[in-house]
């Protein structure tokens, strides 16, 4: 598909392999095709771009991120903001190479027309230097921001190589939540899942349950994360957790094969399993409609 993608095409795409997912506990007016509220907005989540990766799972690794940037720029309705949920770069043990990759990533995504862009690290960016290089380029690894009545919280569960959020950050999270009414609309961004999705493949956060316990008293919380290179939708209590596709290679479904090796590149279906998502915030319902977009061949 070339050219701008409008809202009607959002839904057509859903029928073509994209999925519109009504998050949270309410029904989705947008997903049902009804008019949304005037305060509704949408943002785009991109994840696991792994800039610097080279290997058979993605022979087009040098252009995949650029294609995603072009696809986001082609959206008929630009998102209010864009969120990158970690693993911006692929792991390297050379600090200079890490910074080179971070700089190249920064320069590529500078082509995004939407200027309101937020970043957070994945373990590939941050676990070997506790987030030092990432912070040089993109600032804090955990922070909050507010947008049109929604409180967004970015939780760093990768800068500690033990996959810990850590007591200090948990205290910061508790203090932030204490300022909010219990019915506040809250969105949490993390890289790793906060719950034990499949710890046999290290798909977990060791103290993620503590963060969930802090969030549970709040009625309207939704978590978007990355790390596992595929969609996964999970509920803990009343909190929905939605993982995003990758922009480098898909990983197998949890426990679907002995090892978590990347799914092989299919030359007959390039970019299969890769993509990004648009998330429409349905303010009146404290709900979110998720539309998944593929990376196009062209």
């Amino acid at each position: 598909m070339k050219g701008p993608i409008d809202r009607r095409q959002f839904l057509q795409l859903a029928g073509m392999g994209g999925i519109v997912f009504a998050s949270g506990l309410g029904s989705s007016a947008r997903a049902a095709g009804k008019a949304g509220g005037s305060d509704d907005f949408h943002f785009v989540q991109l994840s696991d771009t792994h800039w610097g990766f080279e290997g058979p799972p993605n022979p087009d690794a040098k252009v995949t991120l650029r294609k995603a940037v072009a696809a986001v720029n082609a959206l008929a309705e630009p998102p209010d903001f864009i969120m990158f949920t970690g693993d911006l770069t692929h792991i390297t043990e050379d600090p200079r190479e890490r910074r080179k990759r971070l700089a190249e990533f920064r320069d590529i995504v500078a082509d995004l027309r939407v200027r309101n862009v937020h970043f957070m690290p994945g373990e590939h960016d941050a676990s070997l230097d506790q987030g030092k290089a990432f912070q040089e380029f993109f600032g804090a690894t955990h922070y909050t921001f507010d947008h049109k009545g929604v409180h967004f919280i970015v939780v760093d569960n990768v800068s500690d190589p033990r996959a810990l959020i850590g007591d200090e950050q948990l205290q910061w999270l508790a203090a932030d939540l204490a300022q909010l009414p219990k019915d506040a609309s809250i969105v949490v961004f993390t890289h790793r899942p906060l719950f034990d999705l499949y710890p046999q493949w290290d798909w977990a956060t060791r103290d993620g349950a503590k963060a969930i316990d802090l969030l549970l008293p709040h009625a309207n919380v939704t978590v978007f994360y990355g790390h596992i290179h595929q969609e996964n939708h999970h509920i803990t209590g009343h909190i929905a957790h939605h993982s995003a596709r990758s922009l480098i290679f898909p990983l197998p479904a949890p426990a679907s094969q002995p090892k978590r090796d990347p799914l092989p590149w299919d030359a007959t279906q390039p970019y299969k399993g890769l993509g990004f998502r648009s998330v429409e915030a349905l303010i009146a319902k404290a709900d979110y409609a998720i539309t998944e977009f593929p990376v196009q061949k062209g």
């Binding site: 949270g24 997903a31 049902a32 792991i91 190589p161 033990r162 996959a163 046999q200 999970h234 509920i235």
Partner: protein, 122 residues
């Protein structure tokens, strides 16, 4: 396609009900088998640990280079492996089968391939 979250919630709750055996951090009693496992970037030796169901063992874990993790979630067994120290984990294999253990402390470029298996037979 719109996915309802209520049916999803019920299915996910059901899937979450399986529990595993337990492990605690104590020294071996004289009668218990001790299995030494050595970690280095990015593998374990041995990387296949064969156990008998119901027969407890103590894993003595060391690392040759950097701090590593050992995690066998199916038996709720995990430890930090600190250079120069011995980490001990008692493990009671309460079910048969083949189970994965992994390094759960990010240790470098080969971290995601650093794993092994525990094979439990009757």
């Amino acid at each position: 396609m719109v996915i309802g979250t209520r049916s999803l919630k019920a299915a996910l709750l059901a899937a979450a009900l399986g529990l595993a055996g337990t492990a605690v951090y104590v020294a071996a009693t004289p009668s218990e088998t001790v299995i030494k496992v050595v970690a280095k970037r990015f593998d374990y030796t041995p990387n296949v640990i064969k156990l008998k169901k119901g027969v407890p063992v103590v894993l003595e874990l060391t690392t040759k280079d950097v701090t590593m993790g050992f995690s066998a979630p199916d038996f709720a067994a995990r430890a930090d492996i600190i250079p120069g120290q011995v980490a001990r984990v008692r493990l009671v294999p309460d079910k048969t089968g083949t189970f994965t253990f992994v390094c759960d402390i990010f240790c470098g470029t080969g971290h995601e391939q650093m794993d092994g298996t525990i094979v439990v037979t009757d």
